[in-house]
């Protein structure tokens, strides 16, 4: 009972603090508000698990997860390397790179654009869940097949965004290039690519969350006996839910960091775009 009460109080306190803080300007406040929100969330979770005596086999408390985090850091690190560094990152780089090159080709040859994009949309609708086992069958159990799944997952979001971005120049901007009698490559390099950057980054950001999810889920369909997806799927069977949640925390942290990193690069590369200037 006392835990539930504590949960309620902390929740009220957090809300009050955030209402106050969000009226303030400045970096610190902007950072503090979501952090407080998160801390309150975690505390309420702890309180609920303890207060209602929820079985650790169903949902472990954050404190238990944290303890496991410390205990199993070796395993967690090893899984992180296997899944994120080898699987997700490789796939992300290959997939996004291939998508950008394809976008340029597709943009250059209208025939391809009109043929490839509709078919591409259909292929992109193939659920990853169905593709993963097939790719594992083709590329083997190790990280290569995870990278392949990630390539498939990130390819179309990036392609579609990039193609749209390359077309997103105003008539006047293109006319200007025409009056300079600029070649195709010149206008690609000096006009269309810079203009496409905001769109491309949009695709890259979406792809960054997809990459991690893709790599983890693909491990459900075959993996060596290491990796975050492997650990999650097998630990549930052994009822080591604390380890499962520790892996999920790693995934969330890695995913957020990945997304944040791409967003930072975006900020530097598209500083001129209205969406980056405002607020």
């Amino acid at each position: 009972m006392s835990w539930i009460l504590a949960g309620l109080i902390v929740w009220a306190l957090g809300l009050w603090a955030n209402v106050r803080l969000s009226k303030r300007k400045g970096r610190a406040a902007a950072l503090a508000v979501p952090v407080i929100f998160g801390l309150v969330l975690v505390f309420v979770w702890e309180a609920v698990v303890r207060g209602f005596g929820i079985s650790p086999v169903l949902l472990p408390a954050p404190s238990v997860i944290a303890a496991r985090f410390g205990q199993s850091s070796g395993v967690l690190w090893q899984d992180f390397v296997q899944t994120v560094l080898k699987g997700a990152l490789t796939g992300y780089v290959l997939g996004c790179g291939a998508a950008l090159l394809t976008a340029i080709v597709v943009d250059r040859f209208d025939f391809l654009r009109r043929g490839l994009l509709p078919v591409g949309n259909f292929v992109a609708a193939l659920p990853i869940i169905g593709i993963a086992p097939i790719l594992v069958m083709w590329f083997g159990f190790d990280w290569q097949s995870k990278a392949a799944v990630v390539v498939v997952m990130v390819f179309f979001p990036v392609l579609v965004n990039a193609v749209q971005g390359l077309a997103d120049t105003s008539a006047m901007q293109r006319d200007l290039m025409r009056t300079y009698a600029a070649s195709y490559w010149t206008s690609l390099w000096k006009l269309r690519l810079p203009a496409a950057l905001p769109f491309i980054f949009n695709g890259l950001k979406i792809a960054s969350t997809l990459a991690l999810i893709g790599a983890i889920v693909a491990e459900f369909f075959g993996s060596p006996i290491t990796g975050m997806g492997f650990r999650i799927s097998t630990s549930v069977g052994l009822l080591q839910l604390d380890l499962v949640w520790a892996e999920i925390v790693v995934a969330a942290l890695a995913g957020s960091a990945f997304y944040g990193g791409v967003a930072l690069i975006e900020r530097a590369a598209t500083f001129w775009h209205p969406s980056q200037r405002g607020r």
Partner: protein, 272 residues
């Protein structure tokens, strides 16, 4: 870079023809049906001319400029620029074009925007820097070359876009309401500058404006157009001397030409 096209031309009494349009028609196909933007347009522009186009909104001034610059293909009729097709002239980089809106690239600084055509046309780095400085001074934007377009007011952006068109040696300058966004004082000043540049360089200038005094002050010829379908209703030769102080605008000759232009314009409107 443009030598092969530029005619040798000194200011002889009968200057060579730079632009000649004959029986020009242009119809835009739109979802609401066809729009005739230009109808039976005939015009000759000689080297060194300063031609103003004036007419009500939507009469086809921009369209005509675009046809000359090979940005639009006429439905019928012929245009020759420097004796060749507009396309060949464009490929020979004969034009400097100032668009109705500034149209600077937001990811380039002001200096970078002005440098853009120079990079494309292969000027050396030193030459680029030198020219950027020179045109920035001309439009009174020295010191702003590191700023980005969105950090400048609309009028400053418009001046930057003029500077961009002046930075390289095109001998035909097409300007679509370049001074529309400026206040009267700055406008007067830039008018003077433009005239000075023109008489110094012997460029041929086609200039679209809504302002009658501006048209009269600047031009050797004023082309008055009527609304859709866009036709040329009058071509007025200006008797004003090449040397034009601002005060010339109070002279009787000036007022008389202005009156004629106004009458021509009014004929195209519905009111009284």
């Amino acid at each position: 870079m443009t030598e092969q096209v530029a005619a040798p031309a000194a200011s002889v009494p009968q200057a060579p023809t730079v632009i000649s349009a004959q029986g020009l028609n242009l119809v835009y196909e739109t979802s609401d049906g066809p729009v005739q933007a230009l109808k039976d347009v005939d015009l000759k522009i000689d080297k060194g001319d300063f031609v103003s186009f004036i007419g009500p909104s939507g009469c086809g001034k921009t369209t005509f400029l675009r046809v000359m610059a090979d940005l639009e293909t006429p439905t019928s009729g012929t245009v020759l620029v420097n004796g060749v097709t507009p396309e060949a002239a464009r490929k020979a980089r004969a034009y400097g074009y100032v668009f109705q809106a500034a149209g600077l690239y937001p990811w380039r600084s002001i200096g970078g925007n002005i440098r853009l055509p120079l990079e494309i046309m292969g000027y050396s780095k030193a030459e680029q820097a030198e020219r950027v400085q020179r045109v920035l001074e001309l439009v009174e934007l020295s010191g702003f070359d590191k700023k980005y377009p969105w950090q400048l007011s609309g009028g400053m952006q418009q001046r930057a876009s003029i500077a961009r068109a002046l930075a390289f040696d095109a001998d035909i300058l097409l300007m679509d309401e370049p001074f529309g966004a400026l206040d009267e004082i700055v406008r007067d000043h830039l008018n003077e500058q433009l005239l000075a540049l023109w008489s110094r360089t012997e460029k041929t200038i086609c200039f679209v404006t809504h302002s009658i005094p501006e048209a009269v002050y600047l031009s050797t010829r004023i082309v008055v157009m009527s609304p859709r379908p866009g036709r040329i209703t009058d071509v007025i030769e200006s008797p004003l001397p090449k040397e034009r102080p601002l005060e010339i605008r109070d002279s009787p000759e000036f007022l008389e030409i202005a009156h004629r232009v106004r009458e021509g314009l009014r004929a195209g409107h519905a009111y009284d």
